[in-house]
Amino acid sequence: MRTAMANRLTPYMFMAPAAIIMAIALMYPLGYMVWGSFRDWNPSQTIGEAEFVGLKNYIFLWNDPNFHESLGVTLRFAFFVVTIEMIIGVGLALLLDREIRGISVLRTMFILPMMIAPVVVGLMWRYMYHPTVGTFNRFLDSIGLPRVDWLGDYALTSVIIADIWQWTPFIFILSLAALQSLPRSALEAARIDGATGWQQIIHIKLPLMMPVLIVTALLRLIDAFKVLEVILVMTEGGPGLSTEILALRISRTATEFRELGVAAAMSNYLLILLLLLTVGMFAFNRWQEARAARLNALVEEES
């Protein structure tokens, strides 16, 4: 009797520490934030001391052109970063999916950028983009081209380039792993049927990789909304608002302008946006997976 009781409790005992910590430090804060977004709240008050203002913060943001600008910058950043990184990363994986000597050394080289602190990545690129001292302008000088104000007029592009440098390897590694775990019979069959390399990629490899590619893109997309330090160090959101992504605006509203209520409302908008993206991608993924499974069965049948 006693052991039966213990057995029923076992899973909860294993689960308890994680559940308690996540409840205290994730769930409770998130609920607290939703509650705080309805209040005129500054950092020196407890939430109970802050005045309840209803939807005021949300309406304020809804009409705030600066918030719209930040939202636009964030979406543009995320869109370009994910699209370009997917194209380059998958392309490289297709190109390098063969037996070459020293591939493991190569992969180590490629994952190095991901492991370095974003703060350090930001400072590296800030140096390279520097108008006079920087590497890029020196290079342009040496081949006789005019200098470019990298972190001025082209700030958003420059920030995107830095992110591409750091995160394309992530997509490369995942696509390579996906490529190498493809059913070999399918590729073999296609080769025997005389499909060219290009045809194999379009009709066999890419469709079969699709589920993994979508998860990868989703992970990258979510991470693109988390980027903050690199941009903070490189441009501090400027010039003007041209690189002030939402994450930066939230942190500034909270710590510099000390308006926690408004920052909380902004965070909620961002969460809703992320939730919609995630749900959408998952639905799409399920559909694609079913399609890939059908394709797989078809190919296997034929070989």
Binding site: A19, A25, I47, T108, V119
Partner: protein
């Protein structure tokens, strides 16, 4: 598997060389600059040929040096202190996350229990929350709610002695930062470890059960040793985040508990940028992750692919 054109194609190897150059180039550039005097960095005439100096490192590490370099008159950068804070926070939060996350992952894989699906789903959802979103509530809670004794006798005594609000809050302590890092990393660790625990053969656990081991003995003596590669991968990722994170640490730390990323950003935003010193500080922060990468790249790749490829 090898296709005919994989052998000796110069263009192919040129592409690879270019890629390696592009991904490692900036790191090497920073490494070299950290050994240059600011004059050399700014003039740029020296390029590859310069006289290396360790002055930047001496300036960065001035509070831990056992000698006094004569080119430093005032030690403004407290790198040693920040480095120790970084180390404490990263190591403790990694260890805690692994133990707690591993137990939770085991429960999710091996047991059916009430609320299992809810836990599983919320873990997945929490993964997408950006640190910037956590900033607001954590900042508010750690500063105002998670405090000891604001109005009681002890609080009154503290107020009389030191002034201020009379409370001791989670903000500004190592534990405050560690707590949020553990919570933040748990979903990821649980997610990754699940895919490793699934592969542990059930028969092994049952054999141990028959021999009279309790569930916790089975977990620590049978399951844990078998998923070491997964633990290593999870450890690297958790450590990386705790070591590199800036935003939450900067909101929750004070002068004594700040970490290296905060030190770098603070120095960066000063009007006169000392490139050499900043690059040296950056290199010092980058070295542990670089060593990790070189030692454990296989584990890192396993860890990355476990989440996405195995689904």
């Amino acid at each position: 598997m090898s296709t005919p054109n994989s052998r000796a194609n110069p263009a192919f190897y040129a592409v690879i060389a270019l890629l390696v150059f592009m991904s490692v180039g900036p790191v090497i550039l920073m490494f070299m600059n950290s050994f240059k005097l600011d004059v050399d960095i700014i003039s740029g005439t020296s390029g590859l040929i310069f006289l290396p100096t360790i002055q930047n490192y001496e300036k960065a590490l001035c509070d831990v040096l056992w000698y006094e370099p004569d080119h430093i008159d005032f030690c403004s950068l407290k790198f040693g202190n920040a480095f120790i804070n970084s180390l404490i926070i990263a190591l403790i939060s990694t260890a805690l996350t692994l133990v707690i996350g591993c137990m939770a992952a085991y429960a999710l894989v091996r047991f059916r229990f009430m609320g299992r699906d809810t836990v599983s789903l919320s873990t997945l959802m929490v993964r997408m929350v950006p640190p910037a979103v956590l900033l607001v509530p954590v900042f508010g809670l750690w500063n105002n709610e998670f405090c000891l004794d604001r109005d009681g006798i002890v609080g009154g005594a503290i107020r009389d002695a030191f002034g201020g609000r009379g409370d001791v809050c989670l903000a500004g302590t190592h534990s405050g930062i560690i707590l949020i890092y553990v919570a933040m990393n748990l979903p990821f660790v649980i997610w990754i470890l699940q895919s490793f625990i699934v592969q542990v053969p059930r028969s092994l656990e049952e054999a141990a059960r028959v021999d009279g081991a309790g569930p916790f003995q089975v977990f620590f003596k049978v399951v844990l040793p078998l998923i070491k590669p997964g633990l290593a991968a999870a450890a690297i990722f958790t450590f990386r985040i705790a070591w590199n994170e800036y935003l939450l640490a900067s909101a929750l730390s004070d002068r004594d508990t700040r970490t290296v990323p905060i030190l770098i950003v603070n120095n960066m935003s000063e009007f006169n940028v000392e490139w050499g010193v900043i690059m040296a500080t950056g290199m010092l922060l980058a070295i542990p992750p670089i060593i990790f990468t070189l030692l454990a790249s296989r584990q890192i790749i396993t860890g990355m692919t476990a989440g996405a490829v195995k689904g």
